[in-house]
Structure formats: C-alpha cells, structure tokens
C-alpha cells in the first residue's frame, strides 16, 4: 500500500509544482518579487541625496549599513520603501476605527460608494443605448460616431470642474463624482453590448423567424442571453474606469474625504507615504471590483449552461 501510495503523492507534488511553474503563479510571484527588490533599490538611490545631507550635518561618521537603514526610514522620502508603505497601510486600515477620518477604510468606502453608484448608472445607460442602437438604424448611424468621439474628449480632465459647478448649485456628496464615473463607464458597455446583441448568427435569427417570434421575444430569448459574456467583459473595463473617475472627481473636494483627497492632501504636505498607501488602496479596490465581476460572470454563465 505504502509503496504504491508514495509515488502517487510524489507525482501529485511534482504535478502541482510543474503546473504552477508552467502556469502563471510562479512567474507572477517572481516578477512581483523582482518589482519589490527594484523598489527597495530605487528608494535607496532616490533618497540618498537627503541622507547624505543628514550625515554631513552629523559628526561625519557613518557606515553603509546606517546609510541604507537611513534611506529606509525617512519621514518624507522621495520614494518610501515598501515596508514603510506597508506599515502606514496597516496603521490606517487596521489601527484606526473605520469611522475615523484617519482611517483609510473610511476614505476607501467614500470612493467605493461613488464608484458603485456611477458604475451602476453607467452600465444601465450603456445597455439602454445599446438596445436603441441595435433596434434603430438611424440611432446606429447617428449616435455611434458621437459616442466614439465622446471618448476622445479628455473628460477626466474636466471632472473637477463638473464637481465644482454642481456644488455651486447645491449638488454635493456622491452624485457629482458618480456622474463622472457614469460618463467613463458607459462607453465600454455600449460598445461591448452592441457587439453582444449582434453576436447571434444569422442562422439563429432565422430560426427565431421560423418560430414566428416577435422582435421582443427574439431580444429576450436570443439576443440578451447571447450578449451576457460581452456584458461581463465590458463591465470589467467599465468598473476600472469608474474607479478612476471617482478618484479624480475627489481631487477638488479636499475636505470631503475619499482616496482622491488623500492623494491631494499628501501632495500638498509632502506626505509621500500617505500618497503611496492611498495608491495601493486604490489598486486593491480595483482588483477586488474586477474579481467580484469575474466571480459573478462565472456563476451566471455556469447557471446558463455555458461551458466557459
């Protein structure tokens, strides 16, 4: 028994190992490790000038060990070392009450709620426009070029203005930021859904015709189910865009909180560690949102019997 079991576990072990190194896990881990090493090296290099000044003001006696340790522990480094950012993240995420203004979770929640509201509105608007475009040729020909042109406008650049102007008529809080997120996230959804609604083959459309299906029935029984994979793919692009929109929308509303205002405050007061921790928090948010959509996609498509 043991003699048989042993090789099989050995095969199992090498199996996992080979699968990981032939898959993406090990390469990604190595690349991430390399990035962290480069980050440490760069923070020594970038912070060295300041550290030399500190030592020059001191008694002039210093070792390379002290020098490196010094570059890793400055108060306002040009590039904070990864562990400094990690400590700051730990202090502001775990070490603070989540309702406190010093808590990064509090700011992340402000940004996240604006992102989600804007994303929901953008997805709804995008699906609506796509339905209109698919069902009306005049809409298709006149609207689609303008939708594409609307994205060559650097709307993000005027996001702060939208917020300030809406604030001047008394609209503050979530809605202005959410509107910017909406504008950024509807475009991928329109383009993806137009493609998705048109993805059924002619032969399937012909089958619906032989069933004497109305255009309403064709839409709900054929076009809409066929478009769902496209919907999820474009939602992933859209949710990332709406997070960017919410963050940039927070830039002018310094006092109101949110990751964007943390960025701005950090840049005003030279708090680089704070900037980097806000950036990493934004990265984590965006990763979580995309992951959530991926999970929803798996569940929904599996329920619908897709083999994807």
């Amino acid at each position: 028994m043991i003699a048989i079991a042993a090789p099989s576990t050995a095969i199992g072990r090498t199996g996992i190992w080979t699968r990981m190194s032939h898959g993406t896990t090990v390469p990604v881990l190595i690349v991430v490790a390399a990035i962290i090493v480069i980050w440490y090296a760069a923070s020594v290099w970038l912070n060295s000038a300041w550290q030399f000044q500190v030592f020059a003001r001191g008694d002039g006696d210093w070792t390379w060990g002290e020098f490196v340790a010094g570059t890793f522990s400055q108060d306002r480094p040009l590039l904070p070392a990864p562990h400094q950012v990690a400590v700051e993240l730990w202090n502001t995420v775990v070490g603070q009450n989540v309702t406190s203004r010093r808590s990064l979770v509090y700011h992340a929640w402000i940004t996240l709620s604006a992102t989600l509201l804007g994303f929901a509105m953008g997805t709804g608007l995008g699906i609506l426009l796509a339905v209109l475009i698919v069902h009306n040729r005049a809409m298709d020909r006149s609207l689609l070029p303008w939708i594409i042109a609307s994205q060559t406008i650097p709307i993000l650049a005027i996001a702060p203005m939208v917020v300030v102007v809406l604030a001047s008529i008394g609209m503050t809080g979530l809605v202005p930021k959410a509107l910017i997120s909406t504008y950024l996230s509807f475009f991928p959804v329109v383009v993806g859904m137009v493609k998705g609604f048109r993805s059924p083959d002619q032969i399937q459309l012909d089958l619906m015709r032989t069933y004497n299906a109305s255009s309403n029935q064709t839409f709900w029984k054929l076009r809409f189910p066929a478009s769902l994979p496209y919907l999820f793919t474009s939602m992933k692009v859209g949710v990332a865009a709406s997070l960017v929109g919410a963050i940039v929308g927070e830039l002018p509303t310094g006092a109101a909180g949110g990751l964007g205002s943390r960025l701005l405050a950090g840049s005003y007061y030279g708090q680089t560690v704070q900037i980097w921790s806000a950036l990493l928090m934004a990265a984590a948010l965006s990763a979580m949102l995309i992951l959530a959509i991926t999970v929803a996609q798996r569940v929904v498509l599996a329920r619908m019997g897709a083999n994807a």
Partner: protein, 288 residues
C-alpha cells in the same frame, strides 16, 4: 423661460431626426452612400448643438452651470492666443514626448520579453493588472520627482501609455500563426527577419489599438498632472484656475480645444492605421 426658443430647438431636433430616419433608408451607392454616412452623424451633432443652445437660452440656465455654445465660441475667438499657449505647453511639450517615449518603451519591452516564455507568463498578468489601475494617481509623485514643468507631465504620460502598449504588443506578437512561422523557418529566416517581415506586420492591428487607447490616456494624464502643480500656462492649469473664478466659458473653451486635439490625434492615428494595415479584413471591408 422663453417658449419660442425651446420649441424652435425641439422642432429643429425632430426635423433632423426625421431627415436621418429617411436618409438611412435611402439605398445609395458609391459617393452618395459615403456622403450619407458622413451627413447622418453631422446632422445629429448639429441638432445637439441647436438643442443645447435653445434649451440653455430658453430656460435661462445660469451660464455658470452651462454656457450656450455661442458664448463658448465667442470666448474661443477672443482668447486664441492664450488657448494656443496652453495647447503648446500641454500637447506639444508634455503629451507628444511622453506619448512617443511611453509607446516606444512599451513596444521595446514587449519585443524583449517576447523571447522568454517565462517572463511573458509572469509579466502579462501583472501588466494587465497595472493597466486597470488608476495610474493617474501617480501624478503628484511625478510632480515631486520631476518638478513643475513639462517633464513631470511627460513622465505621467509615459507611465500611463506604457502598460496598454506592452499588453497589446505582446498579444500582437503572438498573432502570427504557427504555420506562417514554420514557413519563415523553412526560408532559414533569422529571428530579426521573422520579426520584421512576419510578426511585427501581424502585430500592427494590436499595436494600433494600443496607440488609439493611449492617445486619449496621454491627454488625460497630462491635464490631470497639471492640477498638481504647473507653471502658469497649460490646459490643466487654465481649467483649474478658471474654475476657481467660476469663469466657466473659459473652461468650456479649453474643453473644446482638448476635445478637438483629442479627436484629431485619434483621427491621425486611425488614418496611419488605414495606410499601414491596408491588408486587414476590417479595413478592406470598408469599415473602420
């Protein structure tokens, strides 16, 4: 409220809508069909402008909220010199160098990691992840590193354009099929020959896709970076200082210039794409 202006604008909109409905049903060939293709969106755009003007004037919307298009146009014609200076600082000095450097670096990195399957498997997921991040957030850091002038804006643009180009170019370099690569091998073509004669041409559609995405990203990056500190010229500076004084028509004038610059930038790249990838089905089919 001025009912005449509102009804006039709405009537204009309905009439152009009817004309468009009629135009898309006309069966035309050759030049007439192309003319219709251009005319339909142009009519729609004109209707939007008239509707905007009519509603804003008709309902007496305060110009702080939304100025009518005519007021924006008046502002543009009055302050062309300022607008040109801002355009020069932001577009010519920040966006273009950053765009060229970022795209070139992305392409070079793609070609470099393409030789190693290990790096490709490791870097691609990371690159995909990074290109979904809110990278504009690095703007304050870049301003801190490279100073207030155009260098920091170009640096933001480089970082923002690098990853979309990397991801797309790596995908593009794998677009040539096994069969075609085997053919190059039977010709005893070297790595570089295969790269330049087969794999890069096969990758052009992907690379141009990245170039188009980046054209918008670059403009956004430069303008947002100017919010964090800038010399007293530039589109982002003008927008943020004009908002401070609620000088909204100036803001809209800058937006119009930015939109025009963005569209022309995109259009030029699309034109180059048509020339370079003339063989691609999407271009031969007459669709863009």
């Amino acid at each position: 409220m001025n009912a005449g202006l509102v009804t006039g604008a709405v009537a204009f909109w309905l009439v152009t809508w009817a004309i468009n409905e009629w135009l898309v049903r006309v069966r035309a060939r050759g030049i007439a069909a192309r003319l219709i293709n251009v005319l339909v969106p142009v009519l729609f755009g004109a209707a939007l402008l008239v509707l905007w003007e009519g509603l804003v004037r008709g309902f007496n919307v305060p110009s702080v909220l939304l100025p009518p298009p005519s007021a924006i146009w008046a502002r543009i014609t009055v302050s062309t010199a300022t607008l040109w200076a801002d355009f020069y600082q932001t577009f010519i000095r920040s966006v273009l160098p950053g765009y060229v450097m970022g795209c070139a670096a992305g392409l070079a990195a793609a070609i470099a990691i393409d030789r190693s399957p290990f790096l490709k498997r490791g870097l691609l997921p990371v690159g995909n992840f990074v290109s979904a991040l809110p990278l504009v957030g690095i703007a304050p850091i870049m301003v801190m590193w490279f100073g207030f002038d155009w260098h920091s804006k170009a640096a933001v643009v480089v970082v923002m354009t690098f990853f979309p180009m990397l991801v797309n170019a790596v995908a593009g370099l794998n677009a040539a099929s096994r069969m075609e690569q085997d053919l190059m091998r039977t010709y005893a073509a070297s790595y570089w020959h295969t790269l330049f004669k087969l794999r890069l041409p096969a990758a052009w559609p992907f690379i141009f896709n990245a170039l188009k995405i980046n054209s918008t990203l670059a403009l956004i990056g430069a303008i947002v970076a100017e919010f964090f500190g800038t010399p007293v010229v530039g589109m982002g500076f003008r927008i943020s200082s004009a908002i401070g004084r609620l000088n909204v028509d100036m803001v809209w004038a800058e937006i119009a210039v930015a939109a025009l610059a963005g569209s022309v930038f995109y259009g030029v790249i699309a034109l180059i794409e048509r020339g370079v990838t003339f063989w691609h089905p999407s271009i031969r089919g007459g669709k863009t």
